[in-house]
Structures are given as C-alpha cells and as structure tokens.
Symmetry: C2
Subunit: 280 residues, 2 copies
C-alpha cells in the first residue's frame, strides 16, 4: 500500500512522494516519482531510476538536478528512491558514509545490518514492481545515479542487463573494493570475505559480463571533483571496458566538481542518451 | 572587500558565493552570483537580480530554480542576495515571517530593527555598486523574485524605474499593506503610521507611477498556491494596472503551487522576457 505524501505540478507533469512499508528493508521507505505530462493508462511512459549519493534522500535529485523540463519533453518518468533504510529501529552509525543515508545498494549479510540494509533487492525488484503496479509506466527501464548512486546504477545494470535498456552515472564510485568509502561499507555490510565484495563491484562485474548482454553505458566526471582520485577512480573501469570491449563512454569535464551543479549541467544529455534506447 | 566563499562550475559558467560587511545592514552579508560562460572585462554581461522569499538565503534559487542553462545561453548574470541581515547581533524573533530571513526589502525605522534591517538600501544601492565594481557586468539590470521577494522586485522597480530594464515576479505579495504577512512586518519594521507603509506597497506605488517611466512587468502565479487568496492577491495589482494602464502581464497557471517546482517550470520564460529589454 502506497501512502501519498505530496503532489506538486512541475514542468507540466507531477512530482509526487510516497511512503510504503518495504518487504525488502522491513521499514517504511519513501520514494519520489516524476510523471511527465500526458502519462496515463493509455499512454504509458518508460522510467529512469535515479540512485542518489551519500547522505541523500529522494529529494536531492528532484529539487536540484533541473531534470523535469527535458524529461517532460521526452516523456520519461523518473523514480528516485531513498539511499538506505531509515528510522529508529534501523542500525546506524554517527558517520556520513555508513549506515542511514549510505546503503550502498547492496544486501547486507552481517548483523546487525542484514535485517534492514537490503537496498539491492529494493531497487532491483520491489520498487519496479510497485511502480509498474501503481503508475502509468511501461516495463522499459533505464538506470542512473551519482557517486554512491553511480556505483549502484552501474553495478545493478551489470548484474541485471536484461532489466534495463541503458545505464549512466555521474561521478560514480567505479571500484568500491579499491577505495576507502567502499571498503568501509563492504567490510561492515558484507563481512571480511572479500570474495563476496566482487558481487557489488562494477569493475569485477564488468570483467565477467557477457558480450551479448552489454548495455549502452555513459559516465560523466568532473576533473575538479575532490573525490576523483581517492574514491571514484573512473580509469579503473575504463581499463576493464577496454579489456573486454564494453561500450562505455566516459566524458571528462574540465573544471566541474562533485556537486549537483555538475549534474544539472549535463542531466539533459543523460536523459537524451537513455531516450535513444527507452524508445526502441 | 569581498570574501570569496565558493566557486563552482555550472552550465559552462560559474556559481560563486561571497561575504562582505555591508554598510547598509551593518553586518556580514552573503550573496551568490552566476556568471555565464564568456563573461569578461571585454565581454560584460547584464544582470538579473533575484530576490528570494521568506526563510530563504542566497542558496534556494541558485540550487533549485534550474536557471543556469538558459541564463548561460542568453548571456545573463544572476545575483541573489540574502533575504535579511543575519547574525547574533541582529534582532530576531522566533518566527518564519519576521526578523532574520524576512527582511521584506525595506529600510526599518523602528528600534530595535532600524540599525540592521535596511535591505532596501542594500539591494537598490550597495549591492549593484559592489557587483559592478567587482564583476564583468554592464549597468543594465533587471529584477525578479518570489513571494516576499516578488514584493521586493515589484516595489523596488516601481520606486526606481530608471535603474531597471524590466521586472518580473513569481507568486508575489502584491499588496503587503492588505495582507497578514505584510501587516505583521510593516507594523514592526515601520511603526503604526500607515502612511509610511505605502512607500513599500506595490499597489500604492503603481497608482502614482509616471506613464513615461512604466517598465515591462510580468507576474506568474499558480492557482493551487496555498497563499494566493490571503497573502498574495494578484488581482489587487492587476486592478491598479488596469486603472493606470500599467503594462503588467499576469499569467495564471492551473495546478501550480508556491514552491520552487513552480519557479523551475517558468524561469526560462522569465529570463527570455528580461533578455528582450536587457539587450537593448
């Protein structure tokens, strides 16, 4: 059951927030959806799933990306989930990069996190089912995200290539097993057995991708991003892509940082990129 | 002296925040400026001043309006001041609609507010002087704003028609002397002599406007705005405009509310409106 929290007209369409009790994360989850003008049961639209970064909720992208004008023109719905389970019963740490706001889009295996921290199941299965049941959308799906959410988008697309038409990311963590953010999260959510970490690492997953299931993949990265060298490491992923011939385009942008100002500068291009494949 | 607090590339231009000690408000003031790509001492650009609404700072418009792509294309700089003086030494009330965050763009005459609450002088005189001294801009200025800031834009343009090429507003308080927000603010900032209030009331000012100093004026208003009937009252201003033949266009929009989602839906049209006059 979906509880409608808000409904706001924007760019001729509607931005709406909902809450529901998740069977994946065993807590109330909030998400937001943008429905372009004209979306209806007789005119269903495809969906771009957007995964946000550390500390974010469903609101950051919707308020700051400036995506609605283009999405309205292209007829694409956008769904933004939260970045983790939330609430007093959900284990947390006093840390911006672990716990609430930092679910890393995986299924935790370690106590006390394994009850609630199942964002992989939530984003891959539960949320699309809910969206397709309750809104005028087709089953055509693309996926994108920023930073931790860029990791989520790439990793989820690589593991589920038949579920998405295309994948993109802004400033993604491309190789979490090889950076401090990813190591901190994976060691606590997944435990010390690093063989389990590879299931959530885009570089490792791309090495094993089947060429008949390759997806169009676009990444945009600013070269003035404070996290570029230590945490994001796009060159690690492009090296794998070159090795396996994965159709990855990495666009480096001089002078741009890690903020939503960067995302807002290029989100229209990402929407147009996905539209090429969503409309097929 | 300007203290640069941030510089972020966006839409090919730059978003920058500055702090300085104001001679008008006698406290540190923060403002933000967007400079479009290519702005330089040999290619100066005109400026749109944006005045925000209750509770806002320089950040709300810059983060949520989605204005930069269009402003970059048109070659318009945007300057967003704060909405009041700030700081521990600045008198305040525990109220969202009075005191800090609610300066109403006037010069207060009543103690204890009259030392710091001089946002009229700040926006009309001090800030443009600073901007024209420190940035690659021409002296061509337009002005716009939202809600309390819409009041500010209309009122300031009506009082200083030679300083601006054009004026626009989203969901403005058009007749503050006739609504609870305005009466609460004006009575405490300006005192009980209501003849003084008329100096800051757009309806009263428009009645006295000289026809040879009329400015192009555009207002956009959503009809699902919770504040429309009690606080904003655009019909009061259109009645005066009709009476004096002021060139005001009011666009009512079905289904839109008072939020930045509304602003983001129509900001491109406001920028194009101002560009018509800024480029002359």
């Amino acid at each position: 059951m979906l509880d409608n929290l808000s409904a706001t007209k924007v760019s001729g369409g509607w931005h709406k927030q909902y809450s529901h009790t998740s069977t994946s994360t065993h807590c109330p989850m909030r998400f937001a959806i943008f429905l372009p003008p004209g979306a209806s049961q007789t005119n269903k639209v495809p969906v771009l799933y957007w995964l946000s970064g550390l500390t974010c909720t469903d609101e950051n992208f919707m308020q700051k990306a400036g995506a609605f004008k283009k999405a309205a023109a292209l007829g694409i719905a956008i769904v933004a989930p939260d970045t983790s389970p939330r609430g007093d019963t959900v284990p947390d740490q006093d840390s911006y990069d672990f716990g609430q706001g930092a679910g890393f889009y995986l299924n935790a295996t370690q106590a006390p996190y394994n009850t609630h921290y199942n964002m992989y199941d939530y984003v891959v299965n539960e949320l699309p089912s809910l969206i397709e049941q309750h809104f005028p959308v087709t089953d055509k799906k693309a996926i994108s995200g920023h930073s931790m959410g860029g990791h989520g988008a790439l990793m989820i697309a690589l593991r589920n290539p038949k579920s998405y038409t295309s994948v993109s990311a802004f400033s993604p963590i491309t190789n979490p097993i090889d950076c401090p953010w990813g190591q901190k999260a994976f060691s606590q959510y997944l435990g010390d057995d690093q063989s389990q970490w590879a299931n959530y690492d885009s570089c490792e997953l791309m090495k094993k991708a089947h060429s008949n299931e390759f997806l169009p993949m676009r990444i945009d990265q600013g070269d003035a991003d404070n996290f570029l060298v230590e945490q994001l490491k796009p060159d690690n992923l492009t090296a794998v892509a070159k090795q396996v011939n994965y159709p990855l385009t990495l666009n480096m942008h001089a002078g741009y940082d890690h903020s939503y100002f960067f995302i807002s500068s290029f989100i229209d291009e990402h929407l147009s990129f996905h539209q090429l494949y969503l409309q097929r």
